[in-house]
Symmetry: C2
Subunit: 353 residues, 2 copies
């Protein structure tokens, strides 16, 4: 009865590869390397924020995400309503990162028997709030049982005109690298929540301290997608050459743009936008705020590149920072620190060069 | 730090409702009752085999499913490659059940650390085989960690012309009820696999007996979607008025059509198509084969209704059985047995009336 599955196969076969050896992006590349789109309507398959499907002119953009209890969220500090809201937002963020407009979502969940209908009502109340705020329709999904915990899978569907879509692959040498809002806040929000969780588990009578850095906690628990940025850029007559949303951290995400655009880049530490609370909280946790911005992730800000001749048009535009330049592909993606050092950017961090 | 979540909330609040009280379909209805599509492009939201989105004439059809290890599949007898294949097929079946053509899929998985890259390669080999056989493109997905086991979420995207789509809601009084292929085989295949699993767990040296009913085992492990049926019907110039794929069992699925079409129905036991192995294996397990057909599920055959004036066109069409008639909504959906009795059909079974 035994087949070549999971644990069963490990005793019989030598040279099996732990998934951790490839890492998340390596794993996706590995598993999907032999899949090549055959349909002319498949404009873009795997490899960007979302897939793109041609519908006689108008394009359909599709993105999907899976969230697992204990891996992506922790119920000790995550209200179910916020979880529903955030689950939708992180998917919509991928659609906005294509400069497309999300229109529909599907929501699938699996839950163990410890969840009540009232608990799921809370979750769906958050889903509904996000649908309302971002003007999208819930059009389908699936509910099923799980042995342990909650698993959420959301697919977002949007539309775009062909000439408006922005891929990760369009960055050109000399382009400016820009980012909306500020970075690292959600990561520090998570550190605060994890600290209070530890204190709570040691002594459930301790009142949690979440009021010192309310902005950071909110960025973690109830992030928003930047559906305003493309309007702002359109009004300034700026069209990004490449774009991605910052979900894995600035470092990983600029590397996605560099890899797919076949370019290098320079980021300048002093230009990376940080919220005042981010700088202050980083000190509390004895962390470098710039490391939080580079490696933290979950910011859901938009990271994009614009051609040099459009840079003057950014004057007077608030909430967008210019943080670097695109370079020749032979130049490794590099961080220039305020102290004059250079570090090579690597996925999930940086190392000395 | 406590919020109104899962287990945490149960002690504080009285009158919480276990999910089991609503059942799967009741739960979906409950959770989504306040979601109403706002976009004119959302042609059909929740409630059919798939959602329908208008793209200036051509329609996009979207369906999604989540599969959880230990709930929907068991690795003791499910080869990963078959699992990959089946995961795709069950989603495509929903698209075909709309009389649409699937074009793209996204595949998201979460796996625990016991899975190796080679194990996932096997899974994706099955995904690839299904993509090839059914001519669909893999266009996206997500991979993440789980604490326990494997969770799969697949979304299928198809297209259809507006005049070709078939919903669950179009059945009319006097329509004939038809089904492709035969029913109950996948359920009996599962019984065989479960029996061999028990024997294996008692004595791992016992050789599994899977050769007696190979058809049933294959129907369970490697089902196919009926992408041929609509071509067959089109050639016979028949257009179904309502259609659904048999995933939950004939009884549940005809009730979906009756509920959404606001009609009743009569099914005739002697006309329900059974494979010879289904009848024989049912005897082995001391089960009524008709109960397997009504309640078993996972057949992925197409169940549809056709207008009375088209019934003659079915002559000479192989592989489609006429199993009943649509009736006035006041008549409860009823099974007429070979012995002349009547049973009221209920979801997941039937009871005496």
């Amino acid at each position: 009865m035994k087949h070549q599955n999971g644990s069963e196969s490990q005793k019989d076969q030598p040279q099996l590869t732990p998934i951790s050896k490839l890492g998340e992006f390596g794993l996706i590349d590995h598993l999907t390397k032999n899949f090549h789109p055959k349909h002319p309507t498949t404009v873009k398959g795997i490899g960007d924020d979302a897939a793109v499907i041609d519908n006689r002119g108008k394009l359909t953009v599709v993105s999907t995400d899976m969230l697992v209890e204990g891996i992506h969220f922790d119920f000790i500090y995550t209200p179910l309503k916020y979880l529903g809201y955030k689950s939708v937002v992180v998917n919509l963020s991928d659609i906005y990162a294509m400069n497309a407009t999300p229109k529909q979502i599907t929501v699938s969940i699996a839950v163990s028997s410890r969840f009540t209908v009232e608990a799921l009502d809370e979750f769906y109340a958050g889903v509904a709030e996000a649908c309302h705020f971002y003007n999208v329709d819930l059009v389908g999904g699936d509910t099923s049982s799980s042995h342990k915990g909650m698993i959420i899978s959301i697919t977002a569907i949007g539309e775009a005109n062909p000439d408006e879509l922005v891929y990760r692959s369009g960055a050109q040498e000399k382009d400016y690298i820009c980012v909306s809002g500020n970075l690292g806040a959600a990561y520090l929000g998570l550190q605060i929540l994890e600290r209070e969780k530890r204190l709570y588990l040691e002594d459930p009578n301790i009142k949690p301290e979440l009021d010192t850095f309310p902005y950071l906690v909110e960025r973690q628990l109830k992030p928003e997608a930047r559906n305003d940025i493309m309007d702002i850029l359109r009004n300034a007559q700026i069209k990004p050459t490449a774009m991605i949303d910052v979900s894995d951290g600035l470092s990983s995400d600029i590397l996605h743009i560099c890899k797919q655009s076949n370019v290098g880049c320079r980021l300048f530490e002093e230009n990376i936008p940080l919220h005042a609370q981010t700088a202050e909280a980083a000190q509390t946790f004895n962390l470098s705020p710039i490391t939080c911005a580079l490696n933290g992730g979950e910011d859901y800000e938009l990271l994009f590149t614009i051609p040099p001749h459009q840079i003057n048009q950014l004057e007077g535009v608030h909430g967008i920072g210019i943080i670097g330049r695109i370079t020749h592909p032979k130049e490794h993606p590099t961080l220039f620190t305020s102290g004059g050092q250079t570090h090579r950017l690597i996925a999930q961090g940086w190392r000395h060069v």
